[in-house]
């Protein structure tokens, strides 16, 4: 679980943060303007590739993607 949190957090920092903004596990990503709704598609694709899962579109909501902790919870729902 900790690994997954770190992996997702590091991916978000690498791909979506331009400056030295500090990202924590509960930092609002979507409502905080770090990841916009169009970019969510690439974040979803990363999670699906990395964890070999398929997240249905109706589960990939701005609320479900709004922090690393929420994303981890979502991913765990689909890992078999």
């Amino acid at each position: 679980m900790e690994d997954m949190k770190e992996i997702i957090k590091n991916y978000v920092i690498k791909e979506y943060v331009e400056d030295d903004t500090v990202i924590g596990f509960d930092t609002p990503l979507i409502s905080g303007g770090i990841v916009d709704s169009f970019s969510m598609v690439s974040l979803k694709r990363f999670l699906e590739n990395k964890y070999n899962i398929s997240i249905p579109d109706d589960k990939a909501t701005p609320e479900a993607f709004d922090s690393v902790n929420k994303i981890v919870k979502l991913v765990n729902e689909f890992i078999k």
Binding site: P28, D36, S37, R45
Partner: protein, 596 residues
């Protein structure tokens, strides 16, 4: 014969009728426009000029009209702007505050040597400095060039180079994108950072400017711009070539003020929320100019989208006029009706929408859940103000664009001869008679392309539509390959060019693909160079490559790897065939196809 489901729908609709007619009656008697037919008769833009105390040949400066004039009208202490940030922090500004703040920014720019007609780029999130900086730039006669803060370095560079921008006002979070390209931009002399961390050194050409710590400038000599003085440079995408800089002038105020008053029906006690980002034209024409020149209180939410956050914002600030976009409305529909019950939204008085056609389902849904229908408004970056629209009090035909604004002569023309159709219901090109105050004056350094938009005495926005027997316009689609995603235009050419810069890609073709929320999204077809394997990781790598280079809007939401792309015998990729497949349409004539 109607089935049981449709009988229930008809019954629900009939039960709903009294409310619908009540709304129409109330809106037509209380709204600024009153009777549409009476307004159309003998309309002249001098109506707006008189209300703004403007006479031909006078000085006209949008920055002054939006701040100083409102103060002189006795509203200096009225709240002009309520701003809420990502973590819920709030700032409030009176009309006197925005007058002084825009003076202060204007003075700073003048002191560093910014001259009238210099291009000053605003590259920021929706923070107060964006709104106040826009007005400050106009007050010194310089040209405001707002650019969407999600643009990647390549998108930014193309637009700055075209405009030969002299200064960029930005935030520390966006400065790295500017730094990446600064060596290629000798014309940029100043990078002004509004929230610079004083513990860190400034880079080359960088200046720190903190509005709240700067000496307030109460008395300021506003540059005496005239009607045709340039004001704003917005960039928009076309099918081919690079993005075009749409040049607007200060006289645009005449259209923007009146359309904001008659269509958005801004009333003195309204709390107005325009959800658009000023990186795009709606965010300036109606998120700054229309709102402030009418002296209303407007609020801004600088946070990412979530249905709960938006409803909470409306409830908290008692928003009464809400101007949003179909993509946002469909996202709210997707979030469901239950969530709405958690909020007290009776403050909403009038709703309107812009950016892409508003589907009838969204109109009916908003009437059901808010008791008010979103009224569709049609216009574009080049028109500068609303052209064809639904008005308060007018009979609404869900899914229709409505009727032309008074003073706007709009029709549908034959795509070959550019002559208006005489029969109703025929699909052709939307055409508007040039000459309204907010019409673009040219494309920056690209008069040739501007002239191509004018045919047989008409301005052609590039959209197809029909007109029904009652004069309502019905949108059909774009007349070119430009992709309208979430209300923003994306050039397939720009995305294809970016794709070709990825080391794995040999050929690319980009088309739109239908999408429930965004109407259209970007889809790319690519062929790979030898040695690269088509797999999920490569697809993600390409998506992120385009996102960082151009913007998240331009990022293909889907990439299809192909062995070859359909081409004409002369080698031109036929996007038309790929698009038809995506939309389930007839492929049409394939006689010129290379290997059919």
């Amino acid at each position: 014969m109607a089935d049981k489901g449709s009988k229930i729908e008809i019954k629900a609709f009939l039960l709903h009728l009294p409310l619908l007619f009540y709304n129409i009656l109330i809106q037509s008697t209380m709204s600024h426009i009153g009777s549409y037919d009476s307004r159309v008769k003998d309309f002249d833009w001098s109506v707006s000029e008189k209300e703004l105390d403007y006479k031909q040949g006078d000085i006209i400066n949008i920055g002054w009209y939006c701040t100083d004039r409102i103060c002189q009208m006795g509203k200096a202490d009225k709240t002009a702007l309520i701003w809420e940030g990502m973590s819920g922090e709030e700032k409030r500004y009176t009309y006197n505050d925005i007058r002084v703040a825009s003076n202060t920014i204007g003075q700073f720019l003048r002191d560093i040597g910014i001259k009238p007609e210099d291009r000053v780029c605003l590259f920021m999130d929706k923070i107060p400095e964006l709104y106040l900086g826009f007005l400050g730039i106009l007050k010194i006669g310089a040209i405001a060039q707002p650019l969407f803060s999600a643009f990647g370095d390549e998108s930014l560079f193309i637009r700055l180079e075209n405009a030969q921008t002299r200064a960029i006002i930005t935030q520390k979070k966006h400065a790295p994108k500017v730094r990446k390209i600064i060596d290629k931009m000798p014309f940029v002399e100043f990078i002004i950072i509004v929230d610079h961390d004083s513990c860190k050194p400034l880079g080359e050409k960088e200046l720190s400017f903190e509005l709240e710590k700067s000496p307030k400038i109460d008395k300021f000599e506003i540059y005496p711009t005239k009607a045709e003085s340039p004001s704003v440079l917005h960039y928009t995408s076309g099918t081919t070539g690079q993005p075009k800089g749409v040049k607007h002038v200060h006289y645009s105020l005449i259209s923007q003020y009146l359309t904001a008053k008659w269509v958005l029906d801004l009333q003195d006690d309204d709390i107005y929320w325009c959800t658009a980002d000023p990186g795009w034209v709606t965010g300036t024409s109606y998120g700054i100019i229309g709102a402030f020149s009418n002296g209303v209180t407007q609020c801004v939410l600088d946070a990412g989208f979530s249905a709960e956050a938006w409803y909470r914002f409306i409830e908290k600030h008692r928003v009464s006029m809400w101007y949003s976009a179909p993509t946002a409305i469909r996202s709210l529909m997707k979030a469901g009706d239950e969530i709405i019950k958690k909020f007290e939204l009776s403050c909403l008085r009038h709703l309107a929408s812009v950016g892409e056609p508003l589907n009838s389902e969204a109109v009916i849904w908003s009437e059901k859940v808010f008791g008010k229908a979103f009224l569709d408004t049609y216009w574009q970056t080049e028109t500068g103000s609303i052209m064809i629209t639904n008005f308060p009090g007018m009979k609404i035909k869900p899914g229709s664009m409505g009727k032309p604004f008074p003073g706007i002569i709009a029709t549908v023309v034959d795509p070959e001869k550019y002559e208006p159709f005489t029969e109703t219901g025929k699909i052709g090109l939307i055409a508007i008679k040039p000459g309204w105050p907010a019409m673009m004056r040219t494309y920056w350094n690209n008069e040739e392309t501007y002239q191509k938009k004018l045919k047989n005495g008409w301005y052609l926005p590039g959209d197809r539509s029909s007109i029904d027997s009652e004069g309502y316009f019905w949108f059909v689609g774009r007349d070119d390959d430009v992709i309208n995603t979430g209300g923003h235009l994306v050039s397939p050419f720009e995305v294809e060019s970016a794709l070709l810069e990825h080391p794995s890609i040999a050929e690319s073709a980009v088309v739109s693909k239908p999408d429930f929320v965004n109407m259209e999204v970007v889809k790319a077809f690519v062929t790979l160079k030898p040695g690269f394997n088509a797999d999920k990781d490569l697809e993600l790598d390409i998506m992120n490559f385009v996102r960082k280079k151009l913007s998240s809007l331009a990022m293909p939401q889907e990439i299809e790897f192909a062995d070859s792309l359909p081409k004409t015998r002369s080698g031109k990729i036929m996007r038309r065939i790929l698009k038809a497949k995506e939309w389930g349409e007839e492929i049409g004539d394939t006689s010129t196809l290379e290997n059919d």
